[in-house]
């Protein structure tokens, strides 16, 4: 489920960084408003709990293989959406840094996929309405399973969209979706069962922890306006990125654009910001067109002079990069030896 840096392009990574950072700032503001000092250590402990819980393996029903627990939905139920988003983001940051799950650029996408959906979609739109009328263990279980499945599927869908937008894989949208969705349906079911089990356990042992959930009216209703606004901003941003990519994708995304707009390609305005961006992009090539490897088109006509020139170019490339790589590795080794000698002398003297 963790996106990796290597599967993202800078534009897509940056887009999701912007979305996650914005939500993070908004949530932090909401928490500051509430100014509940007790929340600070509780959030810290809850984040650590998610890690600790991952050390306890359990058998997945039916399969016999063992799984562990991700925690986004549980955090939303126990803490409410804003603190839960912050806690989940901190958990994912520590995972990115210490466990190398995902990466620095992919962190934005990972926070979006695994924290935004449980906290701001599945919790307010699925879990809350289902348990609002009456809180019974059965209802909690059903609601937790439904919410976990939805948030995991949305996360999986995001992974698919992010990877395809980055233009990294040759998988088509449908195949990729078929690979991801069933797996995450299973994961979501297990996650929901465990989440419900924990919530019911806590409710029996420490009912005061879940007080805010039971009390109607005590808790302000979730601002739907904010949610709509976020989606609007994201949609506009995505549209911008899509139009950048429209010309680069002859087949992959055209059908979806066609369905949305009725045209095969989004018309990029000739003047204005877009044109400037396009120029900058052409100059810097940070969003490069796929440069096909040399000789790909002419591989069948291996004897043509054009091809042999291309082969010559790629041979120079191979030789050159091997030399540079060797130089880098050798100088790294040399520095290491020098440093070791020096430190040995320092200890000796």
């Amino acid at each position: 489920m963790h996106m990796a840096d290597a599967l993202l392009s800078p534009a897509v990574g940056g887009l999701f960084w912007a979305g996650s950072a914005g939500t993070l700032a908004y949530s932090a503001g909401k928490i500051k408003e509430a100014s509940d000092e007790k929340l600070v250590p509780l959030m810290g402990v809850m984040g650590a709990f998610v890690f600790a819980a991952q050390m306890i393996n359990f058998t997945i029903p039916g399969t016999g293989s063992s799984g562990h627990f991700a925690g986004g939905m549980l955090l939303a139920i126990l803490l409410g959406p804003y603190p839960a988003f912050l806690v989940m983001a901190s958990v994912l940051t520590v995972q990115a840094l210490f466990f190398a799950d995902g990466g620095l650029l992919a962190l934005g996408a990972n926070i979006w996929n695994m924290a935004f959906y449980p906290c701001f979609v599945a919790y307010p739109l699925i879990y809350r309405p289902l348990v609002k009328k009456k809180m019974t263990p059965g209802r909690i279980t059903a609601a937790a399973i439904a919410a976990s499945v939805v948030s995991l599927e949305l996360g999986a869908l995001s992974v698919v969209i992010e990877t395809l937008l980055s233009g990294i894989t040759d998988l088509t949208f449908g195949t990729f979706l078929l690979l991801m969705l069933p797996v995450h349906l299973a994961i979501g079911l297990v996650e929901g069962l465990v989440t419900a089990g924990i919530v019911n356990f806590v409710r029996a042992q420490r009912p005061e922890v879940l007080e805010h959930e039971e009390g109607e009216g005590k808790r302000k209703s979730f601002p739907v306006r904010g949610l709509v606004l976020t989606f609007l901003v994201l949609a506009i941003l995505t549209g911008g990125i899509l139009s950048w990519y429209a010309s680069e994708y002859p087949d992959g995304l055209e059908w979806s654009i066609e369905k949305v707009t009725g045209k095969t390609e989004l018309e990029a305005p000739e003047k204005g910001v877009h044109a400037i961006f396009q120029k900058v992009q052409e100059k810097t090539a940070l969003l490069p067109d796929y440069s096909l490897p040399p000789g790909r088109e002419g591989a069948s006509a291996a004897t043509s002079p054009e091809t042999s020139e291309k082969v010559g170019t790629s041979l120079s490339g191979v030789v050159g990069s091997l030399i540079v790589l060797a130089a880098v590795v050798l100088s790294a080794g040399a520095v290491k030896i020098v440093r070791r000698k020096r430190s040995g002398r320092a200890e000796g003297g």
Partner: protein
């Protein structure tokens, strides 16, 4: 398996408090340099492999100057590779157009893009690992706050990190107790594991309560303060400019091709 992961966390934490030229670099310079580097690496086109290789200069520089054991980093990279491998492996299966032939063996474009993904993966993952191995976690948090991240988030990261080791030990004690009282796979069913999670959670709540009172009596006012001061020195600037400059140079100039042409006299 997760126990081992947890000890690796401890190892990284210990490594980050060593003293070396890299460890002395200001965290802000390190975080910024790493971000620029990672962005540059992933911005290469999907069929690019050769030009990515010289970019290994940055992880190697940090590895060597920071005196970080190579095997430790290599093991961690192998451990997390399955997902990128899983997505990447479809490229050779789907994209069978021949790209070039080497010694009579035709290599397809799919394998080229797969290799590109794996090289990018190695470079970016090692950068993230080396960043924490050479910068203390509180240092990174401080850097994030100064770079504009919300204070509530930074405080949350600091608290999470402090409680992490305590709660992980608690969880390991519980797992050990379960193993001692059960045989084979029994007792590991999810139904029997849920109360274990619940107990851990209730204990965590209690701990948070105790910690909160202890902090209040020590004058806690909602944020973690540090006596450590940060100064962005000339050496930090040099490091940042060097890494950023080198990275961008390798990004926009086809260095390997120039060297190769020069060597082959083409």
């Amino acid at each position: 398996m997760f126990d081992r992961e947890f000890f690796a966390l401890g190892t990284l934490d210990c490594l980050s408090y060593r003293d070396s030229p890299i460890h002395r670099i200001d965290p802000r310079a390190q975080v910024t340099a790493s971000l620029i580097y990672v962005t540059a690496v992933v911005s290469f086109p999907r069929y690019e492999v050769l030009r990515l290789l010289p970019l290994s200069f940055f992880p190697l520089l940090v590895l060597v100057l920071g005196d970080i054991p190579f095997r430790f980093v290599a093991k961690k990279i192998l451990l997390v590779s399955p997902f990128a491998l899983f997505i990447g492996i479809f490229n050779p299966l789907l994209d069978r157009a021949p790209a070039f032939s080497l010694f009579g063996v035709t290599v397809t474009a799919g394998w080229v893009s797969f290799a590109s993904i794996m090289v990018k993966f190695t470079l970016t993952v090692s950068t993230a690992l080396l960043l924490v191995a050479t910068t203390s976690f509180p240092g990174i948090c401080e850097a994030l706050e100064r770079m504009g991240f919300p204070r509530a988030f930074v405080t949350q990261l600091l608290f999470l990190y402090r409680f992490l080791f305590v709660l992980a030990e608690e969880a390991m004690r519980m797992v050990r107790a379960r193993e001692n009282r059960s045989f084979g796979g029994r007792g590991r069913e999810w139904r029997k594991t849920v109360p274990l999670f619940g107990t851990l959670l209730v204990r965590s709540f209690d701990r948070a309560e105790r910690v909160y009172h202890a902090m209040l009596s020590r004058g806690f006012q909602g944020k973690v303060t540090s006596l450590r001061t940060f100064r962005f020195s000339g050496a930090d600037l040099l490091f940042l400019l060097g890494v950023a400059g080198g990275t961008l140079l390798l990004r926009f100039v086809d260095f390997p091709l120039i060297v190769g042409r020069w060597v082959l006299g083409g």
